[in-house]
Symmetry: C2
Subunit: 352 residues, 2 copies
């Protein structure tokens, strides 16, 4: 459990569930007209009028998805919200409400709960969200978080994973692989610290970008807005949570198509390249298999090529092919490899 | 961990998250027109037209809310859904979709997951629900479940906790206290078994009603239908999860009113009386403080008295008063006591 700067420790049981909920919810105020009734009754009440609602739910477990030894609680609050609303954005929706269930051990204090919700509040401010409900319970050890995100979308503009067509351009926002290397750096610092607690962890300034990408990723609502402003409706879209090579296969398999990705088009931050080399890893492998980037991966008609290049934070990395099930990477040396799913899975051969 | 009848054990990791999700979702088929898109994309897509949506989320933790030593997984699947949709019913809504997140240790097999979802499926059939999404992840030990329930309600007929008026009748469905005693019986059997594992637990036939009330409670959608059929819109409503005396205070405090409950009107099953006496407990105390009944507690205008008495499964147990904050119990001996909140709280002096 991380040592927070606030030295006071008020046990949660001293306050009680109902007062804790009051205490938390007082810090949030309503931001969306669709939030008719928030915390305080049996359920929240929402109304989206003619729009459709989008719902996604995600569970985060200490020791599996995050490690409280190095994950500041404010960042955790922010990141768990971003990871959840990212699924709404990936359907071309606008996230509006979040519901947070927490199971906390008695190592948790009111002060620590406060830090977590500071991060949640920061995300609500950043993405214009309402905290609309939740649950709060005990657990023997650790911390479990479940976030349900709800958003709205215009009926005609919801984007699934199954609409990619041959010759569509494959686009990705931001850059890839940085979050994965941020995690590797933090894990390395933890090992050094555990081996010799007198050595203070050394979080190098030049690696700040990687730490931030892992600890406090951005939700790409700006990309959704850019697409809308430019009248671009992607043919397929999802967010990159497991890693590009794994996630693109959801699009190609559901669209009954194939894909060609070009290594030299992959957006990789210079800091990602440096640290990958420090770890003896190939930066391309990090970009393909890293995961937790929370960038948007989408396909568009070639007719939108010119419009999409106006946004310098979106890269065209390949195109959809008619060869169903063929997911190919064209390397810088112009070799062609079959991509394999190797993302972070909660279950499977490569659990995080 | 309970020993299930199926002796085979297929590790979850052998199948992997995505295939497990496919495997589970194949057993469910769409039941509601409002479910436009279910499992298989970034989020579910729903449309309620002119109706409002109601959303509630609940977390259930092994060792806090349930004990796998004696909780059959099928019943657990059913109960976790009922507990969640009960919050939608309590707003006078019609539950439509559920989202289930599970964190499971590697003591869990695919066969055990199957049993849990058998119970979920039974609840979906019983209450006409769609399993619309979820998450599946690992945990070091135990089992954590989060259920988000979504329903719809006519704009004009949503019922909150804050509308009770002086002289309104206080009504409750079913009977109270049985679930609490079912739990006491199961805990006693577990202690006997742990003290001497050669003694098989003795689940007496005459106590079946109490076991069932705890292990597989009903959601009272029939009551919501009865109210609608009889054009009765309660002035306030909630479900009884923490216990009558604790829950009625949410209604009186939010309605800025008081209440008088009459002990001789409390609906208590004969089996509840018998077992309470066996434990040396007062049946009234069990009915007031037991919790987990998932019955509906609501207030109606006195004008509906005749209509409500047509339903033999609804009891009028008292009335709302103008004395804000006075929550009184009139005993059979006509003494008047102030009721105190003593329900099951996840945090507080009396954790379950």
């Amino acid at each position: 459990m991380t040592t927070e700067s606030n030295p006071s420790f008020t046990p949660l049981a001293e306050i009680g569930e109902f007062k804790l909920i009051d205490y938390i919810s007082q810090k949030f105020h309503q931001r969306n007209a669709s939030s008719l009734k928030l915390i305080g009754d049996d359920s929240a009440q929402l109304y989206y009028g003619n729009n459709h609602s989008l719902v996604s739910t995600d569970m985060f477990v200490h020791g599996v998805h995050f490690d409280l030894d190095y994950f500041p609680l404010q960042h955790l609050g922010f990141k768990t919200v971003v990871a959840s609303i990212s699924d709404i954005l990936a359907m071309n929706g606008r996230p509006r409400q979040i519901f947070i269930s927490l199971a906390l051990s008695n190592h948790f204090s009111v002060e620590m709960l406060d830090l977590y919700y500071e991060g949640v509040l920061a995300a609500c401010e950043e993405y214009n969200l309402d905290l609309a409900g939740g649950d709060l319970t005990t657990i023997n050890r650790g911390m479990i978080i479940n976030v349900t995100a709800i958003g709205e979308a215009d009926k005609e503009k919801v984007v699934y994973r199954n609409g990619a067509q041959p010759n569509d351009l494959v686009c990705v926002s931001g850059d890839l692989g940085a979050a994965y290397l941020g995690l590797q750096l933090l894990e390395r610092e933890k090992k050094v610290y555990l081996a010799n607690p007198s050595i203070q962890p050394e979080l190098k300034e030049e690696n700040q970008y990687l730490y931030q990408r892992f600890l406090r990723p951005d939700g790409r609502d700006d990309v959704i807005k850019f697409l809308a402003d430019n009248h671009i409706v992607p043919t397929a879209m999802m967010d990159i949570s497991d890693g590009l090579s794994s996630d693109i296969m959801h699009i190609t398999s559901q669209s009954k198509a194939g894909v060609r990705i070009y290594e030299d088009k992959l957006p990789i931050h210079p800091a990602t390249v440096d640290v990958a080399e420090e770890f003896g890893m190939n930066p391309t492998t990090c970009a393909l298999n890293g995961g937790e980037d929370y960038e948007l991966l989408f396909t568009i008609s070639p007719a939108h090529y010119e419009a999409i290049t106006k946004n310098k934070d979106i890269s065209v990395i390949g195109h959809i092919t008619a060869q169903t099930g063929k997911n190919e990477l064209v390397t810088k040396g112009e070799n062609v490899f079959e991509m394999v799913a190797q993302g972070w899975q909660s279950y499977g051969s490569n659990p995080q």
